[in-house]
Symmetry: C2
Subunit: 198 residues, 2 copies
Amino acid sequence: MGKGTETRERIIARAAEIFNVDGYAGTAISDIMRATGLEKGGIYRHFSSKDALALAAFDYAAGQVRQRVAASLAGSPTAVATLLGFVEVFRGYAHNPPVVGGCPILNTAIESDDTNPALARRAAAVIDEWRSLIRTTVVQGIARGEIRSEIDGDALALLMIATLEGAVMLARLLRDAAPLEQAANHLCNHIEQSVRAC
Amino acid sequence: MGKGTETRERIIARAAEIFNVDGYAGTAISDIMRATGLEKGGIYRHFSSKDALALAAFDYAAGQVRQRVAASLAGSPTAVATLLGFVEVFRGYAHNPPVVGGCPILNTAIESDDTNPALARRAAAVIDEWRSLIRTTVVQGIARGEIRSEIDGDALALLMIATLEGAVMLARLLRDAAPLEQAANHLCNHIEQSVRAC
């Protein structure tokens, strides 16, 4: 990796943390300068604007989340194991978020939904990936007789994502892992008792 | 209401909407000036700082949410009806939020958890009110034989709040009421099938 690429990657990784803690509107380029030890010109050499850096930082943060999901789902032997694996990704977010500051998909969604269409589209694309993953898992699980034939994969996906992301919000606000434990336990029970084929 | 009080109330109501859409960090006093038609001095006559206005605006927004909850729960004949009434408060948020821009408790929680302890405490206090309401409802419901004796009211409260607030986030990001419908339907089924005494 050349020195320019290395600097670029370092700016992105630090900016992703700062944006995730302080928000996009709450972060000034001077905050990124302080965190990276670079002059303003050193940052603008790599990014044409704060908005361009924000998009690159979101993509990096989403990549960190994607790695967590992939690691938790790797080698899942059944559709039910895949669904349970998705739930487990979020259980540890209270103590060990994928990026400092919590879930970057949640934080970006809340800040950008009314104000920044480019970021909102990026966050929505990650939600769509998760819906597609869960929908496909349910279709395969039904075909293999592991999941009840009446289960609507997309409805299950929306329920799982809403419950887990809402619990991340509560866990961070209250500085208490209990909401994430409750949400994850409830979804695991629901999957075992109402989604898994009898 | 004197003219000064009327102006103060008008600033608060407009600021609550602007903060809820654009965030606290994303709002400048010039945005409030434009929305109210007041000069800077006309705003600072009533509020010592942007932070003081933000707290007053949050209290106003939380009051709008409280009115929704109170209206939905008024006259609930049973503990189960109270729990279902709480769920129904949120079902309409996709099309008709209590304040323009979505749920002010959710938006404030996400923005303030790492950055603004005074606002974060205000948001956490509303969550605590809801937990207390649901916990008390469950205790009374168990005493009256309406709710299963093994139900943990606080665990149910955390699950309900997480699921509903996460669904508000998704509904606003995706501009689709489906996540709220799925979340509300799931919680209503859960309450009917696993919380209500047989």
